[in-house]
Symmetry: C2
């Protein structure tokens, strides 16, 4: 979930100044529109790791926007007054009215998150608190409020650098205390709790995850998202009024944050999760043969052990056209006995499947205990091809991230080992493989016109994959990114990951 | 919540036969339309107490409808096959496709309910399971499915009669076993768990609570609700298509079950919660004076004790115009010291209040620890006057039941004693009081044209009050129904209830 926020995005000072001035003007104008129309309240929530720049970003926004119509609230331990009322009293009290923007620091997420990280509550109690958060936000959204949530992220190393940097500066060192270092040491627990909080509260009002390392990038990313989403929400209200519908009816619809596109007109750093992959990784043929045999033997023993123990496995393959899914799958299945696995190629849904919820056809393929199910493409089609090709509405694919997380949570809770592979190849490598297919008679059937059309949408797919990894990859159910330019390297890595995940599940 | 389903509604055999034939034809016609348009799947869930007639109703529907396009599923303990997959596998597998109706007995509610009643799980774990139920149903509804949920209720006495009746019949006695009697003895726990389940799963797809005593009434009520809701959903789809919107976009909207109206064209027994009130109850003047003094003294001591212990109280008064709220409130406040209570008269919202969520103005009035807050009218305006007068959209007031339950749950969890009074007067008594106000100079200001207008909508208000009691009255936060034709009787009962609830909270 957070790997997409550890890519080292940066914005140079000169670009920053230019973009900043335009953004400020636009934000002021939007504030004016919002106020004049008394359109709706805007609730902006900031959360994330210490040092991720929550406070600094809020200060910047206060500087850029019109402070008369902006409220900022931060919450520490509840006061006596506050303790005498239900927990949410202080949040309700501080909500902005229609026409205004409220910025909330360490808000209704803070206490439950810390309680979970410090093990004062268990998962069930945590979920219950998150359910209350959802009910609160849903009630506001149903009433027409625009809710924006920013998760400011820093990787563990970046957080350390940030804390050390603050400590060294005599003017800022007061901001770092032992508690901060304690939290830094618990970075892993914090990330796990954060992932749970984000997946459980993204059904209606999804989070935007912001890389917090570079202040320039951070400020622009947050401000741009606010600008885009406010504009879209005001437009929606306009259309709604033009249709003659009363304002009070403009509720119930899901809010999609208009995030900063990788390739949008915003010209923010165009980095996707792929930028962290070393696409030059290679394995020699001789080494490959040796390793392949070894890994297949290891997997063979593991899959038999899992079968005996009744532990099912799902291996799910996604990747660009010609990324080598088929070849990788064959190397995996050769390590197993045919009666113990099934490969499900996911293509166009059948008529029967089309008459059901899109997840139905995946539920029906869940195997009996101990078996291995291999999905060649999967339920992620909803947020990849269906999104990019416009085969499904934006509402539907946005909602799908939460539905998929719910689905996978049930698989994992049941003890199923779920391994999700993304096979990545470079654009040039894809072209080379397409040409090879074209020129090799027995491979020609593999290449269709659709493959060429998909290729034209390379950038849109890159955006979709990046969003998918961000919203559905967690430490519990990670995306395994496979550098696929070298088929041998990719196949070995696929096998190795399968072995490691099975070993972990079997407690080996 | 269930008192509205213990009113002894009955339908005579002759009426039953007549209505049944029309309903059957209509249901068959609707099935045909649904099938031809492959419009959406219809999921009908039956739950409730043993003997409430879940099974019998499902049999009747199978008899009435076209069995080729109807599926019935019931779930016992999971089989070996089922145990090897996640819990919801068997439910997903059995979902009806678009164009068909599925009837589900003892479905995804059953195991969690029983686990809670038998104390195998605690409230937090129960809530978590209910959250999964909600996510499941929401995913289906988002996809366009129509979800209908019927809770078949029997009071404890009626359930006993039903079990005894079955036992006496040699042909049916096999249907009653020791487990049924054990469940009967746990009727109270079952009701508490049921109330929690119903309030937590009614945000999107609300339940219809059906009185299960009389088979004729039960069958007609369920079938009529199905007919009305299917008709409305098909209409909605039509309008949607006429607007040129794709079918896939017809999701996201909240489904409101078109329940059997008290005064609808359905001519089902017109009984509301008021039918259980004995409106002839009276107290003599001499007795009143004695009792009043005694109760006020008792309340005085209790409110001081609550203050010392920091236990806050909210007394909320709703009732028809001229039902005597003001007089009752004055009898309460006279028992307390002015600095310890505040009375909040709830009238038109101010501009500031209008710029916020409708619950905001009630949150702000929550008092410090130990104080008493008296609301003269309340947040229930949303589902009473705003509903009846059409001041808010149907979506908004339907949603409000769940929002109000969430709100009150937070009050009660915080330890606040919440007493909700409904003061009821008869239609004739109201007229007499209006006339008296008209003829008494110093009372004339109390009577407005609006009062006369409201009076014309007596029946619509009765329906709204009945729904309110059904959907927001639970054993934890009950509605205290006050027979108000005799002011003396009403005032004493208001005081007595306040004392009892405070004593209970103080552990006296």
């Amino acid at each position: 979930m957070f790997r997409t926020a550890e890519l080292g995005r940066k914005v140079g000072n000169r670009t920053y100044r230019e973009k900043k001035n335009r953004l400020r003007q636009e934000l002021l104008e939007l504030q004016r529109l919002l106020r004049e129309q008394s359109a709706f309240p805007v609730v902006v929530v900031f959360a994330g790791v210490d040092g991720g720049g929550k406070g600094a970003t809020v200060n910047t926004l206060n500087d850029w926007m019109d402070p008369r119509w902006l409220m900022t609230r931060a919450y520490g331990s509840p006061s006596g007054e506050e303790r005498e009322r239900p927990e949410y009293w202080r949040f309700w009290r501080d909500l902005p009215p229609k026409g205004r923007v409220g910025l909330f620091l360490d808000s209704w997420y803070s206490s439950s998150l810390l309680d979970r990280v410090h093990n004062r509550i268990n998962d069930a109690e945590f979920d219950r608190k998150l359910e209350r958060v959802t009910a609160f936000e849903d009630a506001l959204a149903d009433d027409g409020a625009l809710i924006l949530k920013f998760w400011m992220h820093l990787g563990k190393k970046a957080q350390k650098r940030r804390l050390e940097q603050l400590q060294k500066d005599p003017l800022l060192s007061w901001r770092v205390n032992e508690m901060d270092w304690q939290h830094w040491r618990m970075h892993h627990d914090f990330v796990a709790a954060a992932e749970r909080a984000i997946t459980h509260t993204s059904h209606r009002s999804p989070w935007s995850i912001i890389e917090g390392t570079d202040p320039n990038y951070r400020n622009l990313a947050v401000a741009t998202t606010i600008r885009n989403t406010m504009t879209a929400h005001l437009d929606r209200l306009d259309r709604h009024r033009n249709d003659g519908l009363p304002h009070s009816d403009m509720d119930g619809a899901q809010m999609v944050p208009e995030t900063v596109g990788l390739n949008g007109a915003d010209e923010l750093p165009k980095k996707s999760i792929f930028s962290i992959l070393d696409m030059s990784l290679k394995v020699k043929k001789s080494e490959y043969k040796k390793q392949l045999e070894k890994l297949q033997g290891r997997l063979h023993l593991l899959h038999r052990k899992a079968l005996a123990r009744g532990i099912s496995t799902i291996l799910l393959f996604e990747g660009q056209d010609a990324a080598g899914k088929g070849g990788a799958i064959r190397r995996v299945t050769r390590a197993m006995e045919a009666r113990n696995y099934q490969v499900i190629p996911v293509a166009e849904p059948t008529d029967e499947e089309r008459a059901h919820h899109y997840l139905w056809r995946f539920w029906r393929h869940l195997s009996r205990a101990g078996k291995v199910t291999i999905f060649d493409r999967s339920w992620y089609g909803r947020v990849l091809v269906e999104r990019v090709e416009g085969l499904t509405s934006e509402q539907a694919w946005t909602r799908a991230y939460a539905e998929i997380n719910d689905f996978e949570e049930q698989l994992v809770e049941h003890g199923i080992v779920l391994v999700k592979y993304w096979l990545q190849i470079g654009k040039d490598e894809q072209l080379a493989r397409f040409r090879e297919r074209q020129n090799t008679p027995y491979k020609r059937w593999k290449l269709t016109d659709e493959d060429w059309r998909n290729r034209e949408k390379w950038d849109a797919y890159e955006q979709a994959v990046n969003d998918m990894v961000e919203r559905t990859g967690t430490s519990r159910v990670p995306w395994e990114l496979i550098e696929g330019n070298d088929k041998r390297y990719a196949r070995l890595k696929v096998l190795r990951v399968a072995c490691e995940r099975l070993e972990h599940a079997l407690g080996d």
